[in-house]
Symmetry: C2
Subunit: 364 residues, 2 copies
DNA sequence: ATTAGCACTCGAAAGAAGAGAGTGCCAGCA
DNA sequence: TGCTGGCACTCTCTTCTTTCGAGTGCTAAT
C-alpha cells in the first residue's frame, strides 16, 4: 500500500531533519520547514498515522518522532533526493584518488582511508578475491639449512617464505621439488591441494625429510589467506563524533567489532556488476549483532585482475545516506575507471613484473 | 634531596593503588595495605609533605591523593618493582610471536597488534630505518607507452612503479636509462639525488622526453618514503576501556591524533642498542601536545638489516608501567632474537631473494 | 478535510538535602 | 621529637524534588 504524497513529504522531512540534528523532530518544525502548506495540527495527525504504519516512532509520549529502520528504508528507496556532489567535491575526490593511486598502485586500505576521510565515518575496504591459484613456483636454495619458497599467484602478487631447517638438505632435492611443484601445484585452487596430491609429490621427489609437507602447507596457507577476503577498517575514531556514540561502552563495542575486521558485509551475494550500485543496509538488516543499530553503505568497484573491491562506510542509522551514497558511488566509479577495465595496461604490467621477478612492494 | 624510606614506601603505595583503582587514594587505604606499621594520621602527615614536594596532588581538598607526573617518574625510576612475567605469559608471547613471524616475515604492524593485545593499550610500531639507498635498478619495458621502474633497496625490500606515458618511447631509451640509473643512482642516499645529477643523466641518456625526471622523482619519493619512519597504530579502541577516556571528546582527540600516525616518539634520540632498555615518557614529558596527559612506553628491538624497530604503547598516565614495561621488554627481546642478530640466515635470505628477483610480499 | 486552542504528559534541567570520604590539626602519649 | 587517636570541617557525589517546556492528542469550529 502506498503512502499519500503528503505523507511521503512529511516522512522525508522528518528523516532529513533528524539526520541533520539527531533530535526527535516535532510537528511544528516540519510545518515551518516550508514545502508543506498546512498547520502543525494536520501534520500531527499524519505523524500519528505514520507511527501506526511503522515508519516512525516516539521515544516517549511527549517527544518528537524518530524514523524507524523501516522509515529509513522507505527514505532510501524512494524519498531521498539523489545528492549531486558539488564540483569542488568531485574534484577533491579525483585529486586524492590520483594522488593515492600514483604512490601505491592498488593498496586497498588506502582506499578505505580515503572513503573515511571523505564521509567522516569509519570505512572498510575489502577486496573480494576470485579463487586464486598459484601461477608459478620457485624454490630458492640459500644454504644447506635454508631455502625460500616463492609463489606467484594468479591475482598478480607474489608471496614468499624463508624456511629454516634443523637438518641439511642438498640442492638437488630443492631443485627437484621446485620442478615438481611447478608442474603439479600451479593453476589449482585451494581445494585441489589434497593430501593425496601432497603425498604423491613427496614420493615423486624422493623426499624423506618432510620438505614437501612444509611447502604444501605454505601453499595452502597462502591460498587461504589470499582468497579469504580481509577487511581493512580505518577511521574508527570518527564514530566518536557521532552523538549516538557518546556512550563510550556503545562506541567501544562497535569499534572493537570493527577493528576485528568483522564480517560486516552480507554473505557476499555478489554485488551487481554495474559499479554505480550502492547498497544500503539499515540497522537490523545487518547480519552481525553488533551492527543491529548501525547502518552500512557499500559500493563495489572493479579492481582489475578479475577482482571486485568493496568499499563501505559504517555509521549510526541516522546516517547521511544521500551524501554518503553519492560520495561512495563516485569514489567507486573513479576506482573502477582507474584500476579496472580488464584492458592491457594493468594486466600486462603485472605479468611482466612477475616474469621479471618482482611484485608487491608494500608492507601490510 | 632524597626521600625518606617511608616516604618512598608511601609514594609507591599511592601509585600502585591509584594504578589499580583509578580513584584518588586516601590515607586510610594506605595504612591498611600492610607494609607500613603506622596509623593513618602519620601517613596523612607524610602525604601532605609529598604534596608539598610535588610528587602528589589532591583533586580537591577532601579527596585522596593522586600522583603527579613527577610522582610517576619517581615511581618508574626507583620505586616500582620490576615485574616478572609469569611462565604462562612468556609462553603466550613466544607462542604468538612464533605464529606471527612464521606467516609474515617482518610485518611491523602485526607486531604492534600483538603488543596492543598483550597490554590492552593502543600500540604503535615503527621501524626507524637507517639511511636507505638504492641497491639495484631495473627498468622493464612493457610497451611503447608503458614501463616499470623497479628499485631494489639496501634495506632488502623492493619498490616498483608502473609508468604510463602519453607518448611513445622506444625500447632503446629505456634500456639506456636503465643502465645509467644503475650506474649512478645506486648506493646513494636521498640527499645525493641532486638536480645536477638528474640533469647530467638526462643528457647522457639523450632523453628528450622527460623520462629521467619521472624516474628520478620516483627514486626520491621512494627513498623518502622508506627512510621516513612511519608508525602503525593498532588497538586505538582499547583506550575507551580506560576510565580516563570515558569522556568521548578526550578519547576522540587522542585517538585521531594516534590514527594520524602522529609523531609520538621523541626526536629519535636513538634508543640505546641494548634491546632490553625500555623507555617511559610520562605525561608532559611527551613532546606532542595531544600526549601531554598520556604516557608512552617504548621498547626497541633489532629488526635485522641494520634496522632498529620501535614498539610502544600509549595509555593514561595512570598506566600499569611495571607490567607494560615487562611485556614490551620481553616482546622486544623476542623480536630481536628472531629478526636481528646480523648473522647469516636472515641477511643471506634477503640477499638471495633479491638476486633471484622477489621481495616484499605483503600489502600495506 | 483542516485548523486553532487547550489540557495533559513526560523527560530534562535546576535546585536542595544528605551522606560519606578524607583532610588538617590538636592534644596526649612514648 | 615523633606517633597516634580524635574531632570538626570541607567538598564532592548521590538522590530526591521541583520546575519548565516541548510536544502531543483531542475537540470544536471553520
Amino acid at each position: 500500500m502506498g503512502l499519500s504524497d503528503r505523507k511521503k513529504k512529511i516522512l522525508a522531512a522528518v528523516v532529513d531533519e533528524y539526520i541533520r540534528t539527531a533530535e526527535p523532530v516535532g510537528s511544528k518544525a516540519i510545518a515551518q520547514s516550508g514545502s508543506l502548506n498546512c498547520s502543525s495540527a494536520t501534520i500531527r495527525n499524519e505523524l500519528a498515522e505514520l507511527v501506526n504504519m511503522g515508519y516512525l516512532e516516539q521515544p516517549h509520549t511527549s517527544a518528537g518522532r524518530v524514523p524507524t529502520p523501516m522509515g529509513y528504508r522507505m527514505y532510501v528507496n524512494e524519498l531521498m533526493e539523489k545528492q549531486k556532489l558539488s564540483l569542488e567535491e568531485t574534484e577533491e575526490i579525483n585529486r586524492r584518488l590520483n594522488l593515492k593511486l600514483q604512490e601505491l598502485d592498488d593498496t586497498i586500505s588506502d582506499v578505505g582511508r580515503l572513503a573515511s576521510q571523505l564521509t567522516d565515518y569509519p570505512a572498510l575496504a575489502i577486496t573480494a578475491q576470485m579463487a586464486v591459484t598459484v601461477k608459478r613456483f620457485d624454490l630458492i636454495y640459500v644454504d644447506a639449512n635454508t631455502f625460500i619458497i616463492v609463489l606467484t599467484l594468479s591475482n598478480s602478487t607474489a608471496r614468499s617464505k624463508l624456511v629454516h631447517l634443523p637438518i641439511s638438505v642438498d640442492q638437488d632435492l630443492v631443485q627437484r621439488l621446485s620442478s615438481l611443484f611447478n608442474a603439479s601445484f600451479t593453476g589449482i585452487t585451494q581445494e585441489a591441494v589434497t593430501p593425496v596430491l601432497i603425498h604423491s609429490t613427496e614420493r615423486a621427489a624422493d623426499d624423506t625429510m618432510g620438505l614437501t609437507a612444509v611447502i604444501a602447507a605454505f601453499v595452502l596457507e597462502t591460498l587461504h589467506e589470499v582468497s579469504t577476503p580481509t577487511a581493512f577498517v580505518t577511521g574508527e575514531n570518527r564514530l566518536l563524533s557521532q552523538p549516538e556514540f557518546r556512550d563510550p561502552d556503545k562506541a567501544h563495542k562497535l569499534m572493537s567489532y570493527l577493528s576485528g575486521g568483522g564480517h560486516i558485509f552480507p554473505p557476499s551475494e555478489g554485488m551487481a556488476p554495474g559499479s554505480d550500485e550502492v547498497r544500503v543496509l539499515i540497522g537490523p538488516e545487518n547480519v552481525a549483532e553488533e551492527l543491529k543499530d548501525s547502518s552500512v553503505v557499500i559500493a563495489s568497484y572493479d579492481a582489475g585482475d578479475n577482482t571486485r573491491g568493496l568499499i563501505g562506510v559504517v555509521g549510526p542509522t541516522r546516517m547521511d545516506y544521500s551524501t554518503v551514497a553519492a560520495k561512495l558511488s563516485f569514489l567507486a566509479a573513479g576506482l573502477s575507471r582507474r584500476l579496472g577495465g580488464g584492458e592491457a595496461p594493468p594486466e600486462g604490467m603485472h605479468n611482466k613484473l612477475i616474469i621479471k621477478g618482482d611484485t608487491g612492494n608494500e608492507r601490510r
